[in-house]
Symmetry: C2
Subunit: 255 residues, 2 copies
């Protein structure tokens, strides 16, 4: 996989996942700082100067590469069953399922947020969905290489399998229970739907329950990556600060 741009190099070098870096290619006019050169040497990464034309062949002509291209390890999805197996002994775990999220920017942002919030994996669909491209890795600030990501053919079946393994599955939609009043169990899956149409009917029917994010102004809806951020960090908040964990139980007839 080829990433590009001066910033991509700077960020990758200072991040934990700098081991994914295999080679650096520079155009004749580009240069590295002494610090970057020494870090690359430390990582045993070769730096090669190449004609601009070859650079453009690697990353496409329109790309804002600034003469810097990074060759990284290929991105590897994890088998979904393997992820479930890894999480089997964990007393506490969370997964994010994406039902046809299509915008690469959203996918990258959700991966970054999920990783920061301690989510254990992101599961996305084969069809009509963004997959992990260099652009997605860029938006994820490299965290796509740090978090298990799975692609499944049949999201409904994947949700059923997670339920068999003890996960409680929450779909997200406008008419769900307000999340502040939901007592999340230790093993949970959160399902986020497509940017325009939300979750598909059959996917929604596979959820144990649905949750909503109450808003102050009756508006459209939140961007899916913002919704994911709010819910993933709410779950983290309750785990890190258990004294504020238990919400009031929702009483019948209450909103």
């Amino acid at each position: 996989m080829y990433l590009y741009g001066k910033n991509a190099l700077t960020e990758l070098l200072k991040s934990q996942q700098n081991a994914i870096l295999k080679k650096v290619y520079l155009s004749p006019s580009a240069s590295l700082s002494e610090r970057e050169e020494s870090l690359l040497k430390g990582l045993n990464v070769s730096v090669t100067v190449m004609p601009l034309k070859t650079i453009e062949q690697l990353v496409g002509k329109g790309a804002a590469h600034q003469g810097v291209v990074l060759e990284t390890k290929d991105f590897q999805y994890l088998e979904y069953e393997e992820l479930l197996e890894q999480l089997e002994p964990a007393p506490v775990a969370s997964l994010v399922f994406l039902d046809q999220v299509q915008d690469p920017h959203n996918l990258g942002a959700i991966i970054r947020t999920a990783y920061s919030a301690g989510v254990d994996g992101v599961v996305t669909c084969q069809d009509n969905s963004a997959s992990v491209t260099p652009a997605v890795v860029k938006v994820s600030a490299g965290s796509a290489f740090l978090l298990p990501i799975c692609i499944v053919n049949n999201l409904r079946r994947a949700l059923e399998r997670a339920k068999e393994k003890g996960f409680w599955i929450y779909g997200t939609e406008k008419d769900g229970h307000p999340y502040p009043l939901v007592a999340f169990p230790p093993k949970i899956g959160l399902v986020f739907g497509n940017e325009s149409s939300g979750m598909r009917r059959l996917v929604k029917e596979s959820c144990d329950e649905t949750v909503s994010i109450p808003m102050a102004n009756p508006f459209d809806s939140l961007n899916v990556s913002v919704s994911a951020g709010i819910l993933c960090f709410e779950i983290l908040r309750r785990r890190l600060f258990p004294e504020t964990r238990e919400p009031q139980v929702l009483k019948e007839g209450e909103p």
Copy 2:
């Protein structure tokens, strides 16, 4: 201001802010649904067919206009002092201050989130900052027209003025108090810094206190629009669900 694209029209028509629409221009090959035509008639908005060339002159050649251009009212910033005055009698209020947030996508996403979370206004800087362009309005899903937005020359001075008016100002940074342990008062301002460099030193010094978003994995940092989403909705959560509002008081020596 000119917005464009079929989707922009569809969303604007179903939204509360459809009154900003002044005129619709179509290319000869574009068409509207019957429902759209009747809605436009109801709003007293004229529809004019124009040569493709003229359409392109309005919105630029590269724009994905799909033959649909919307002429809207001009975007109007609110005077900052006027905003403060409006909020003076309110017992509860919140403001978002942006210290040189530069990415139009982030600005649009923050406006959308702030509006949904019931924030009373967004204040941004004159220099080195994204301003409200058609692209920002698009990402904000039109909410830029629903929420007071101010531009100030001197953010530090603006923070001082807000403090004089009874707002408690929280800067956001890695080393701040974990937000779940902060007891937010009724009138608050949240300050978010630039995407790469965070808040400027003098701006930070003008804050009453700083807060952080604790993460599960020691990583880079969150995208600024995700951070804004988490904090704005945490504040809304405490207002809407006061039974979970008061966090434990932070004891000395505790993290």
